[in-house]
Symmetry: C2
Subunit: 198 residues, 2 copies
């Protein structure tokens, strides 16, 4: 097997697995099911991933890489304070709505794994801590640059920002509420206004 | 079979199913798995529920009854405005932390079912719309009683309140963050303060 082709195959399998995880949940991402979807033999797929756990970890790693590339990195290219926070927020909204057929794969995995100890849960928790840390840092840098209130608690800001986006996930994905995005943007705007340096 | 005993058995099965749904997710609540946990034959269990779907519906109905009895009803016995909203909020926090071994079964079901059309999803959506409507009404009644700001949008209040509690679910259940409850209470307090009539 040529290395280039092996990498392409692996990439295409992970891509299909990620779509499956987005709509069906991470638990459904098994070597057997994926082999069917990818038109490969189970043994062929097994050669790439060796276990369901390794496959699930590869899926979460790919999702994490994509989140960094499409949400975090573009935000970091904006000016500190509100522009950076707004770009991150917009990126997350797009991530939830257009990046995957069934919404954020981390959200889908979170409730499946919260009571399932093991390396997949550990890795998921790591990505989610990184997510909260990123938002905390965006807010802290805004404070340090004098753009956000000096007495703003950056961790509390991150918590409230995450809550707004979780409420978007719930009202948009589950309830299919037509004004979910409008309510989400209003809530975030209000959070920015009350966090602004005077 | 005596009717009384049949009802007791049904009740005890639903109770076990609800614990299973809380930790493992609703998808895991199957007649086969539950028969093992309840020490019954699959055919015995089948006589009570007839299908996995009926069993899952019974689980969600029981969860909904309990939420109304332990969260909504006590809130409605408080004075309109903040006391009622605080009681609802405290009830929901307890619901997430002490009522089930794996946290809110609705949260666990939401991401499983958001892309799975059918009567179980339909019923779940109905319970979640009722939940948002209840919070909206609590806020609206607070406005009408002159306790909350006259220009407060009650639906927006409900959206933000839900977001805070979803962020609690995520930071407490998945991240096991020690200060999850503290951050949640701070965020809710700030929401109340900015919603208060002046």
């Amino acid at each position: 097997m040529r290395v280039g082709k092996g990498l392409d195959t692996r990439r295409s399998i992970i891509d299909q697995a990620l779509r499956l995880a987005s709509t069906q949940g991470l638990r459904q991402v098994s070597i057997g099911l994926l082999a069917g979807a990818a038109g490969m033999s189970k043994s062929g797929l097994f050669a790439h991933f060796r276990s369901k756990e390794q496959l699930q970890l590869a899926v979460l790693r790919e999702a994490s890489d994509r989140f960094i590339a499409t949400v975090l990195a573009p935000a970091l290219r904006e000016a500190r304070g509100e522009p950076r926070l707004r770009r991150f927020f917009d990126g997350w909204l797009r991530w939830e709505t257009t990046e995957f057929p069934g919404g954020c794969p981390f959200q889908a995995a979170s409730d499946e794994l919260d009571d399932q100890p093991g390396p997949v849960r550990d890795y998921l928790v790591e990505t989610q801590r990184d997510l909260f840390d990123s938002m905390t840092t965006l807010a802290r840098v805004g404070v340090e640059a004098g753009k956000l209130r000096a007495d703003l608690d950056p961790r509390q800001f991150a918590f409230e920002m995450a809550g707004i986006l979780f409420a978007f996930h719930h009202t948009h994905r589950l309830l299919r509420a037509e004004d979910a995005e409008k309510q989400t943007r209003l809530a975030f705007e209000a959070l920015l206004v009350r966090s602004r340096a005077r």
